[in-house]
């Protein structure tokens, strides 16, 4: 008789029992995403660090440890120092210009006017369209012979045909072009971020300030700006990360030239690691991005935490 009383545990029901425990189910649901990211982001990141202290090339895939020799060789190379400086100019120049344009543009779009939706849709374009495609459109506009910009300047008698600049052939102008294109690409993003921040401020706070006698500038810089600062910071962090590590604009527009004048970290890492096959030096060059990224991550964490409070 005891046989009847014995519970029958089928494997299926045990499986269901496991799935009905909340923490088990949650772990199972989150696991695929975590494993994917660990295998294809975490592991490569560790590999990149290891390559940078080894003598690995695609022609001689050795794991021989060479310590910091790769980094020493890179730092002693004057063109690398220029690349590093270029990366900072490129990043902060374009972000500053983008922010200025963004602030001003958001200020305009805040006011309702007929066709505002359409105007917004047009202004978003530079951020929406794949950057590689937008870059080649700019390359055509900066063409040495058929540049529409030069044509306009000549037609407006600002320049003569002999004085017309070769935008991508002059080191300073090439850098300017790269910065302008990146600022152009990011300013719609800045506008949207500013707009999102400003419209999130409750109107009664601004009304209260107006009643208390705060004028236009005070309202803008002592009430609105501090309130939207966290969201602007998050937007700026994104801009910095994606600009500091960018490769596509420089690759397509100037190939780092003329004579290295627009070479940036991402491009230099690509040239050394992929094109020349010197994986270890390429990885070491790319790793120079890491300190900046770490600072950015720490700032990001602080802003996320502040948002929760």
């Amino acid at each position: 008789m005891a046989v009847i009383a014995e519970p029958v545990t089928k494997p299926v029901s045990r499986f269901h029992f496991m799935l009905d425990r909340r923490e088990v189910l949650e772990t199972i649901l989150v696991a695929p995403a975590i494993i994917y990211v660990l295998l294809l982001v975490g592991l490569p990141l560790l590999l990149a660090v290891y390559y940078s202290v080894s003598a690995y090339t695609i022609y001689n895939p050795t794991w021989r440890f060479v310590g910091l020799a790769n980094f020493e060789q890179i730092i002693q190379n004057p063109t690398f120092i220029q690349t590093l400086v270029n990366t900072f100019i490129f990043t902060f120049g374009s972000q500053l210009l983008g922010l200025l344009l963004g602030k001003f543009g958001a200020f305009l779009l805040l006011r309702p006017f007929p066709g505002r939706k359409f105007v917004r849709a047009l202004i978003i374009l530079p951020f929406a369209v794949p950057v590689a495609l937008a870059t080649i459109a700019w390359q055509w506009m900066f063409d040495s012979l058929y540049s529409v910009i030069n044509w306009t300047l000549i037609a407006a008698s600002i320049l003569t045909r002999e004085e017309a600049p070769n935008w991508l052939g002059n080191p300073y102008l090439a850098m300017l072009c790269v910065v302008i294109i990146n600022a152009w690409r990011f300013f719609p993003f800045a506008i949207v971020i500013f707009l999102a921040g400003i419209t999130a401020i409750p109107q009664d706070i601004i009304d209260a300030a107006t009643v208390d006698g705060a004028g236009f500038w005070r309202r803008n810089y002592q009430i609105i700006l501090p309130m939207i600062l966290p969201i602007i910071a998050i937007g700026l962090i994104f801009g910095i990360v994606f600009t500091f590590t960018d490769l596509s604009i420089v690759f397509l527009l100037t190939q780092g030239g003329p004579v290295g004048a627009t070479s940036v970290l991402g491009f230099a890492g690509f040239q050394t690691g992929i094109v020349s096959g010197d994986v270890s030096h390429g990885a070491a060059i790319s790793l120079f991005m890491l300190p900046v990224l770490l600072v950015v991550v720490i700032l990001m964490l602080r802003f996320i935490r502040r948002r929760e409070i």
């Binding site: 799935l19 009905d20 909340r22 949650e26 649901l29 989150v30 695929p32 995403a33 975590i34 994917y36 990211v37 294809l40 592991l43 490569p44 990141l45 590999l47 990149a48 390559y51 305009l108 006011r111 047009l122 202004i123 978003i124 374009l125 929406a128 369209v129 794949p130 950057v131 590689a132 495609l133 080649i136 459109a137 055509w140 506009m141 058929y146 529409v148 044509w151 152009w184 300013f187 719609p188 999130a200 966290p230 969201i231 998050i234 994104f238 990360v241 994606f242 590590t245 490769l247 596509s248 991402g266 890492g269 690509f270 992929i274 390429g282 991005m289 990224l293 990001m300 964490l301 948002r307």
Partner: protein, 281 residues
Amino acid sequence: MPRTVTRSLREVAFFTAVAFFVILAAFPFYWMLITAFKPNSDLYNVTNIPFWFNEPPTLDHVIYLFKETLFARWLLNSLIIGVCVVIITLVTAVPAGYALARMTSRKGEALGIAIFLTYLVPPTLLFLPLSRIIAELGLQNSMWSLVLVYPTFTIPFCSWLLMGFFKALPVEIEEAAIVDGCSLFGAFIKMAIPLSLPAILTVVIFTFTLTLQEFVYALTFVSSSSQKPITLGVSTDLIRGDVFFWGEIMAGALIAAIPVAIAYNLFLDRFISGITGGAVK
């Protein structure tokens, strides 16, 4: 009437500024459009006014693109890559976003932020080791390498986006289903997923546009023309030696850019609230 004068001056200044922004943002695309449909004799004549058609517009560049280049193949490649990446992303990010949203402990929040931060690890830091991994897997020079790699940035982004959405979904709905005899997993499948279809649609659109916009991985892993996605093909493959086929390049860029631009405009607000982590309500 000095007041009406200052007011109309203000209006003029305002709309001039708006016009400046519109021209700044949209001119390169107008330039793409006009270049794509201009005959070469018009395009390469410096004495013509470049801003409009001096000769009747032509479809030659578009026809050349489809007949003489691999453009149609690139479109197809991008479509295949996009669909595969969308499937991988949905299968992994929807459950992950749900689990992260429902985790009651601080662990869930920390895990969510950790996953999101991997979105910030740039391709230019990972492409060297990833290219070795892809070579080991025998996927070099194949578009399937991109199917494998693109989820590394779509999964973190979409998990984060979906986590925010599932958090806003009242847990009582699922609890009611469980009381009615649904299992915990059943509540997720039968209640949470159908209710989050708008968020899932957003994720589908964004994953697809992110794969279309990507350039660095495609450039690094794929070099044979027939395997290239559209963005890479148009920007690197329409140049023969030193000769740029500007009409064809601009036509190709335009065709590839239009769907992305439309999708972005429709879903922009969700994208922004995604990356700002719901700081904007």
